[in-house]
């Protein structure tokens, strides 16, 4: 598995194991809109911190195992995958933003809007890394 594929899988997994539980808990126990809601802020801070540690630590570990490959600049295939995955992520984020900005305020407010925006970002990021990881996997050839 190439260095960039490992990184894409890592980012995808880090997002799933941190923001997945965050949104699950938030859905099961919706936060109140009374301010300041430090409990919800703390929950988000813990999630963001855990994500940063997992993604950052994982990236450092993968870098140390694949130093030579990690230092190579992106080639035309990497750039093509990056371009396509970013395009999909852009349209995902655009759709999420339209949903949160135009339709969600009709019936919701406060933390629902905040978490809706956060969900749009997380889904867009996951779409990018998921598409990149799948592309690298699909194009993986043999022989070392």
């Amino acid at each position: 598995m190439s260095y960039r594929e490992k990184i894409a899988w890592l980012y995808l997994a880090a997002m799933a194991v941190t923001y997945g539980p965050y949104f699950l808990i938030t859905a099961l126990h919706p936060p109140g809109d009374a301010l300041p809601n430090l409990h919800q802020v703390w929950r988000f801070a813990m999630t963001a911190g855990a994500h940063a540690i997992l993604a950052g630590g994982g990236q450092a570990a993968i870098f140390l195992q694949n130093r030579e490959e990690a230092r190579q600049p992106l080639d035309e295939r990497d750039l093509a995958i990056l371009h396509r995955s970013r395009t999909y992520a852009y349209y995902t984020l655009l759709s999420g933003t339209i949903l949160v900005g135009c339709f969600l305020p009709i019936q919701h407010r406060g933390w629902t809007l905040v978490n809706g925006t956060l969900l749009a970002i997380v889904v867009a990021e996951s779409v990018q890394n998921g598409f990149a990881a799948a592309s690298y996997r699909r194009q993986a050839g043999g022989e070392a």
Binding site: Q139, G141, A144
Partner: protein, 77 residues
Amino acid sequence: MDGPLTNKVRTLRFLHGEMSQAELGRRIGVTRQTIAAIEAGKYSPSLEAAFRIAEVFQVPLEEVFQWRAEGPEKAAP
């Protein structure tokens, strides 16, 4: 991405002293994984990369890459 574009990169590497994918990649400016993907027919290189590969092996482009137009019999459902 199996398509009508095929190539003889693996054969040409063999004929050039079993040149490694990494070496070929280094000479044309792409990664070993990209060469592996090209050989497996899972990635179609840019025109520039294709010409660079042909240049490395000192052969015309059409000797490295072959393209076959889809016939009408294949286009039928």
